[in-house]
């Protein structure tokens, strides 16, 4: 049995945080749980429905479709952003004047508000007046993200990669910078090639920051709302309607608060499960 702290007074320091979390997360979450078992037509009048909304959401093809779209989107951007971020971090200079220049350039997309990113890319990719749209159409592709689902997906993914790869780069670069020179000198003496250095020194040393990068990118992309909403509005049709956009449509567009609450709880449980898995993996790694 491990030794345990005997001074329990430290718990009082946690009280302000508990109060803050209660007001901004716990009480709203409790209200969502309450809504999820009831039907309302407004005016604070509710009718108890039991688990009907959960059953409806779990059997809803619309929910399955938006969940699948969400998972595909998250899978695609992770598959692009993580390797690309590592590659850029490896290519960045290690010392000198250009380090600061690269870091500032990398940080720029992260400083732009999400709705501005959506608006920027909307104009940038318009087929008639946008630079990107005109170039792609000029090469001979029929590109119109407002009408063609493939073009809409391509633009949304490109926008996300542009906006968030920097985060992976910065994290991977921080991981790379923390590797002592002695490792590289030893590798050089052993005659290790660039791939061997990457595989046996750089990648293992970046493991922790990469786990954090994957977790952050998973969470952000799984809850993405503003950028695709501004860029495509979930269209054309429903092709870029991800979970959060669908949720807002149900809750605020249709004012179906019960089904929306049930859907958001299922959404929350999925996010919680993934977070727990990542947290456990990180802690297991640390323990080893």
């Amino acid at each position: 049995m491990a030794t345990k702290s005997t001074n329990q007074k430290a718990w009082f320091f946690v009280v302000p945080v508990i109060i803050l979390v209660a007001f901004n997360a716990l009480i709203p979450l409790m209200t969502v749980v309450n809504y999820s078992v009831q039907e309302t037509f407004g005016n604070n009048i509710f009718f108890f429905e039991g688990v009907k909304w959960f059953e409806q959401v779990l059997h809803s093809e619309r929910f399955h479709a938006s969940l699948l779209r969400q998972l595909s989107f998250t899978g695609i951007i992770l598959a692009i952003e993580i390797p690309l971020g590592i590659a850029i971090a490896l290519a960045m200079p290690k010392k000198g004047f250009w380090v600061s220049v690269c870091l500032v350039l990398m940080a720029l997309p992260l400083l732009i508000p999400w709705n501005v990113v959506g608006a920027m890319w909307n104009i940038f990719a318009l087929p008639d007046i946008g630079l990107l749209g005109r170039i792609i159409n000029g090469i001979g592709f029929d590109y119109n993200f407002t009408q063609n689902p493939t073009a809409a997906w391509f633009t949304t993914i490109l926008m996300d990669v542009w906006h968030w790869t920097s985060l992976v780069v910065l994290l991977a670069y921080a991981g790379l910078s923390s590797i002592p020179d002695a490792y590289f000198q030893a590798a050089k003496i052993d005659g290790a090639g660039a791939w061997a250095v990457f595989r046996h020194i750089q990648l293992p040393k970046m493991k922790r920051v990469l786990t954090i990068a994957i977790l952050l990118r998973f969470m952000d992309s799984f809850m993405i709302y503003t950028e695709p909403f501004v860029l495509t509005g979930g269209g054309p049709g429903n092709t870029t309607t991800f979970l959060s956009i669908d949720l807002v449509k149900i809750a605020l567009g249709q004012f179906d608060l019960g089904p929306a609450a049930a859907m958001s709880l299922i959404y929350f449980l999925i996010v919680l499960l993934v977070c727990w898995v990542f947290y456990t993996l990180m802690m297991k790694d640390e323990a080893q």
Binding site: M30, T31, N34, N44, F46, F48, I266, L273, A287
Partner: protein, 94 residues
């Protein structure tokens, strides 16, 4: 007293939260009465405290209920039985 009508409370949801909060309180009481909640290595190879095991139980049970609801529908007694068995297994072996 505070006006909580905006939160749209129902007895079943209140009972649900009372259950969650009393589970946490019971864990505190358990630890106070018989300390021993320090991490231990379970069958999954994870170092878990009693609190971790409670979390794994509650999160897993939520998915058991959702799975039951998706595959079997109501009533949910089957999910209750599976969740209790799952919880006992988690506290015993994980």
């Amino acid at each position: 007293m505070f006006d909580l009508t905006w939160m749209a409370w129902t007895w079943p949801t209140a009972a649900f939260f009372i259950f969650i909060f009393s589970s946490i309180a019971l864990m505190g009481l358990w630890e106070w009465k018989s300390p021993g909640g320090a991490p231990r290595r379970g069958i999954l190879g994870l170092d878990t405290t009693r609190g971790d095991r409670l979390f794994i139980t509650i999160l897993g049970s939520a998915f058991i209920f959702l799975g039951w609801l998706a595959l079997m529908g109501t009533p949910l007694w089957g999910a209750v039985v599976i969740s209790i068995g799952y919880g006992i297994a988690v506290f015993r072996w994980v």
